[in-house]
Symmetry: C2
Subunit: 145 residues, 2 copies
Amino acid sequence: MSQNTAEISRHLRNSGFRVTPQRQLILDAVCKLGEHVTPEAVYDHVHRIAPTLSRATVYRVLHFLTEQRILAMVYMADGHLAYEMAGAEPHHHLVCRTCDSLFELPHSVLRSFRQTMDAQYDFEIDVSHLSFFGHCTDCRDSTGA
Amino acid sequence: MSQNTAEISRHLRNSGFRVTPQRQLILDAVCKLGEHVTPEAVYDHVHRIAPTLSRATVYRVLHFLTEQRILAMVYMADGHLAYEMAGAEPHHHLVCRTCDSLFELPHSVLRSFRQTMDAQYDFEIDVSHLSFFGHCTDCRDSTGA
DNA sequence: ATGGATGCAAAAGTTTTGCAAAGAA
DNA sequence: TTCTTTGCAAAACTTTTGCATCCAT
């Protein structure tokens, strides 16, 4: 699912768009920075390399790459906007509401849930990226939950 | 689980806080407006009744009532901040990424998932309010999914 | 050379904060 | 009376937009 740089460049040029250094830098940054990359994190990263690259361009390019289905956009649980490579592996998180710790949740856990959904509802759930909230081991005692 | 106004007022006064008309209006508004009430919606509502009530007060009171565990705060999938009564029934939504339709998902569907989680992970998931994304019946054909 | 992309700066939208005045207890 | 809470206005933060210039093709 993940495409290399050359493939993406070709796709963009074929569609009549241009492959600029800014677009390459921004795409590289998202790729490198990981799963939930905010525009600000991208800006911090690319701005060190290309100091004239503006926030406006970061926002515009992230939006553009999302339209081109190269990136995917998501609003995180804290309301912040984030991006990641569109073809990323399905991944899920357990977020502790008390200490904000982040735990990975293997995709397999959701398999049965998805099967239930498929069987009972005529709605195709996109389970590429879920977050669940609650309290981790260390914090279960502290809260009166 | 839901408390009446008198009970809430008593709790606040017992804790050394004051029960002002603004706080009552804002709480009533959240209660009346339903499940995912944005600060702006609250403002629109209360501003008609009390034209001098400011946005700052809306934000401060919503935050305050959340601290008091009378309201619960959530960031919705579109990144917007919303509140609802803390004791609300667990409810879940299926959100269509194409047409933005909202479908209710009964809590029972998540029961087995929760049991799996309880058995396998030492993490207490809060399943009071989940949203899943995907594509509804009408939109499954249109998208190349 | 040509039209799409960028940089700058300003605007728009949302949420927070300082401070003097108001008002609940 | 006391001290919390409010209203106003301004600030802070995030994201978008207009427009002249630049540059990938």
